[in-house]
Symmetry: C2
Subunit: 218 residues, 2 copies
Amino acid sequence: MKVLVVGANGQIGKHLVTFIQESDSLNAKAMIRKEEQASFFKELGAETSVVDLEQDIDTIAKAAEGVDAVVFTAGSGPHTGKDKTIMIDLDGAVKTIEAAKKAGVKRFVMISSFDTRRQAILDASESFAPYVAAKHYADEWLKGTDLDYTIIHPGRLTNAEGTGAVTVAEEVEIDEVPREDIARVIVASLENDATVGKEFQVITGANPTSVKEAVQSI
Amino acid sequence: MKVLVVGANGQIGKHLVTFIQESDSLNAKAMIRKEEQASFFKELGAETSVVDLEQDIDTIAKAAEGVDAVVFTAGSGPHTGKDKTIMIDLDGAVKTIEAAKKAGVKRFVMISSFDTRRQAILDASESFAPYVAAKHYADEWLKGTDLDYTIIHPGRLTNAEGTGAVTVAEEVEIDEVPREDIARVIVASLENDATVGKEFQVITGANPTSVKEAVQSI
């Protein structure tokens, strides 16, 4: 199974391509913005494709040709300029979804924000709300397609080393989770078709179970 | 016919409420953000409702109860902070659409941007693109509903006095148009059910015809 990782050069993305290349059943194609980001992925034996998410759907669709799944883990992050929030977190995501459809790729895994429901936009701080809104509309767009989607809602992301154990449920109390463990959850989701059409929150939590078991419980 | 004007205190909005109050068949309810904006509308004999577009759908729906049409002419404008672009131009619009549905109001007139097609996002300057994207997704959301919508795409808006004559078509070459004339086009659209399910661009143009005729040609 070949997986196009959109946002491969991000912090989750680098862990993800690493795990994909370590797995027996998966192979990564890293979509990156600049050629000079390629060496990391080439050393892992992954294919690369240089595409800027501000380009058009056709260009992204070319990168998606021949793959079996697309993972969207690009993000302007909550603290970049708000213009990038709408151009990357919303429009970049929607263009990637449309590109997957165009390239005939059915499987789509979206890395979302912890809570993207309408109430979360209202509850968010003034500076965070635009990011939540962008992710809300991207998730809504994906759910409106007939793609085989999984939407992963991570808790507060940290750069701590992953433990390989998480808590996963439709709704959990917010807590931290290492980016490395989110990358593991993505791999487990790609390897488990029972996650199709599902969305779930992920934290480490007080009584975490192995990523594979946790994802199976969904 | 009672019309809720969302963004009544804006430059188009003030002209619009004025024209509505002058018309025999229409009556305005001005939705404004602050009580101190009410006097202008009260002097015109229009009802007012104080609602902030960053509030929830239920609150907006209460303002829409009992009206026959909703006009969305609120806007952060292309030059406000980009956080407001997503919160008002996109999320505020979508919440107003959902509020109209909730209140059982079928008729909805959206004041959009000149060109909100996907290509226009790619062609826009870096500073203007987020605004075009926000308007694109708001228009797409509206077209996905079963509301009786009309989407008006004005050319470069000016504060010049209106002439009462415009050029209207699905696609025209961009040119200026006074806000006052856009307000007239909104009234003519509300009075002409043939505009339901349609969207069109409006400029003054070289050979303009009267607003009523121009809208009838759609």
